[in-house]
Amino acid sequence: MNHKNIRELLGKQILFFDGGMGTLLQNRGLQTGEIPETWNILHPEVIRQIHKEYLLAGSNMVSANTFGVNAFKCKNLPYTVEELISAGIRLTKEAIAEVRTEYDHPMYSTLDIGSIGKLLKPLGEISFDEAYNTFKEIVIAGDKAGADLILIETVSDSYEIKAAVLAAKENSNLPVIVTMIFDENGKLLTGGDVASVTAMLEGLGVDAIGFNCGLGPEQMKNLLPQLTKCCSVPIVINPNAGLPVVVDGQTVFNVDPDEFAESVKTLVEMGASVVGGCCGTTPAHIQKVTALCGKMDIVPVTDKNLTVVSSYNHAVYFTRKPLIIGERINPTGKSKFKQALREHDMEYIYKEGLTQEENGAHILDVNVGLPEIDEPQLMEEAVTGIQAIIDLPLQIDTSDTEAMERGLRYYNGKPMLNSVNGKAESMESVFPIAKKYGAVLVCLCLDEGGIPETVEGRLKVAEKIVNTAARYGIPKKNLVMDALVLTISTGQDNANITLETLRRIRYEMGLHTVLGVSNISFGLPERSRINTAFFTMAMNNGLSAGIVNPSSEPMMAAYYSFNALIGEDEQCMEYIMKCSQAQDKPKEAAAPKKSDLTLDEAIIKGLSESAYAATIKLLEQNTDSLTIINEKLIPALDVVGKGFEEKKMFLPQLLMSADAAKASFEAIKATLSKQGKNSESKGKIVIATVKGDIHDIGKNIVKTLLENYGFDMIDLGKDVDPELILKTVQEQNIKLVGLSALMTTTVVNMEETIKLLRENGVNCKVMVGGAVLTQEYADMIGADFYSKDAMGSVRYANDLHDKGEL
């Protein structure tokens, strides 16, 4: 019997993993193309023997031969996930039992989980939930079979890792260790770095973190300081036997056991407390390692006490140098933003995000709450959409606990959460969620009694929050206090109270702080003057992060000046750079506004800014918006479209005109919405890239053009299930569907989709396009129209519209 749960040993004494499996199996007869995990059933004696060799060499944890088992792989195998996993775990336990009779040291059966080998949406193929469910099946099987711990290893996508960790923690109570592949620069293949994933994993509560595969022990020495600097849990290092070397055209690893053990010893001295091997390592390597390191003391594991959030690709620390949290993704007081939310115009939200990123935000606040919308759903969509294109960490901002949970769950990194307050009800509902996902939590200094009017009152609430959070296992480093800002127009002392509260929280309580800065000037003229001055004062009184508008030049000027003044801007480089950027700006902006181009000229030339300006001019002259569209915009687009069909103009020009037309539409739409009207639609069209196909640029081009011609486009995306297309068509009574497929192998799914629509008697036309399609093929699969290029679809949709069929 093991005397102790492995959790009691981790970080207290040195522990050893085993080494490689793949090469050993090849040497014992595993054939090319054969799946190693099938040997759990076909050749159990070989697997058991390998485990025994490692245990006798001194390994404490033997990894079951389950690395590649998952539902996707098992589709092509005669075994289920459960069969392969339970056989795998059983073999480790049998090996442990046999070894124990002659060599009694702590030995643990490890459920070994590798990558699924699929990229996650929105960029990739499978959803976060599918990944989660795939891991869940593995975890349940491993737990049932009696594994002592879970090792998630050789993973390189932080989002997939998060799905795996959640699956492990929600479906078992086993300790979870995660080791990842980094390249020599300390990057994951999906772009994350050591600090960003470490922040995420500690937040999720894993028991140990480390490196495996990819590099040899020597390269890991260079990387390890990055981990020891930020990691507050035990560190695991399972290197390959060196970097892969190509010998006679084949990849091999050739660091010998003695050399390997010497390097591993240094890694232990540097701070690793669990060590073993990966590709190319053998029981002989592990034998040398345990002999050399078995008696070593480990470097004590200490809390680095960092307040940190992370995105998929980098970590952001709260330090003396304040941070900018972009406040613009928020509908409060913004009618255009509200309209975008109601119309489900995600693009609008993404653009707000991109602009703030460009203007220097470090973190983006995301608030998509409106009474009439499904906030949890929209929060999930906004978070997944934003993190696919923006590199910044996000602050999930909502009072709806379901929206909170969804936002945090689908977030790729260690999130920030806005907010909890001192009310018992708020703390009871928010703390468990924040704890589970490791969020850095914004805490408002108010409670059942409202916002305290005194500094002492606010500090008391802050203390209450800190103490209650501790009971939920949330450490101080994950709490950021909002001292609260009330406008000075209603209380002369309001700024003073906030600033003093801020100072004492930061310097006496030792917590980081945050403020929604611009509230200070509510009800006053020329608000940015007050805001800027207050922002500087707040930063000087211990503000760690300001929730501000990064597009406000005075605010950002105050920010960069402050950093330069407190010595947090080396040689004032950032300040100087920002100044020179600001000087360049006005020149650019000035030119197009004075444009003399007419709207049709601007559209034909593809100049968005001129098109926007020309449209505004027309609207100011009281030209009716419909007249603008029908007599200027559409004829101009037709000129370009015709030029394209006659091969006098080309795709980029067509698209530039489309972008210009879009700018013109935006001007019209803004005017209409001011008058409380909506722009008219020529009818709804569903568009999709078919199941199995992941190429969607062609589809997106068609969508852009059709939108320009006034059609309401419902874009179902890429790799779309035929059932979803049918459902959408039926529910929204759609008359025209556009399908795209690029590969001969996926055109069959186009045929399937058309068949499904026809079988269900849906009365809608189907137009198709894509590189490998021809008129003949389109006819064969029963399409109503084959569009050889993007303009073809415009012609067809217009025809249907004119005939009253759309």
Partner: protein, 232 residues
Amino acid sequence: MDIRNSDIRQRVNMREIYRYLGYGTSTPDETVRAMTEEVLDSLTGVVKPRNIYNIYHCSTSETEVMLKDSQNPERVLSFKSRNLSYNLKQCNEVILFAATLGLEADKLMQKYEILNMTKATITQACGAASIEAYCNILQERICDEASSDGEKRYLRPRFSPGYGDLPLQYQRTIFNELQCTKRIGLTLTDSLLMYPTKSVTAFIGLTSNPQSCHIDKCKNCNNIGCEFRNES
């Protein structure tokens, strides 16, 4: 094999990009040319290209190609395809390789699809030309390296699953063999397409028979009606 992004940038064939954008043999106007240069700069600025390859001994029959692991002659990979077999007929050695521009290219496209559809389309074309350039540099370096034993090797045209009668299913074999996911972050969908999207897997024959037909393979392709066919 390490290749610098600037080398890829330099090697990119601008004419290819314009062809992908539908220009055929004509040249875009100043605006589009400038935009293309700009997009290509940002693309080749952000991508993190990666590659992985092995070299095998090769033998062919009329209908099958057999690749033998040089370290472990018992391990044999077999591919049933007349076209591949014809392509590799005179080759004693074959490079099996996978290369990718990485997720950064996909991210950039996704970003431009929101900000500027023209740039998104140009990024797509630049991505296609860049992965092509990357593969071209790579295969030449691998060939040089293979020739370092004194005997000069020449390259046959790259041949990928899905070409001719070589089934796409062999993507699975290549992925397993080269460990593409673990080593370079390439993933395979159930429909056998690759993420990141700007990626290539291929066989490249090595032969001591001098020929220089490894690039510009349009003329050898059966798809006569192809929009992008390059006869020049």
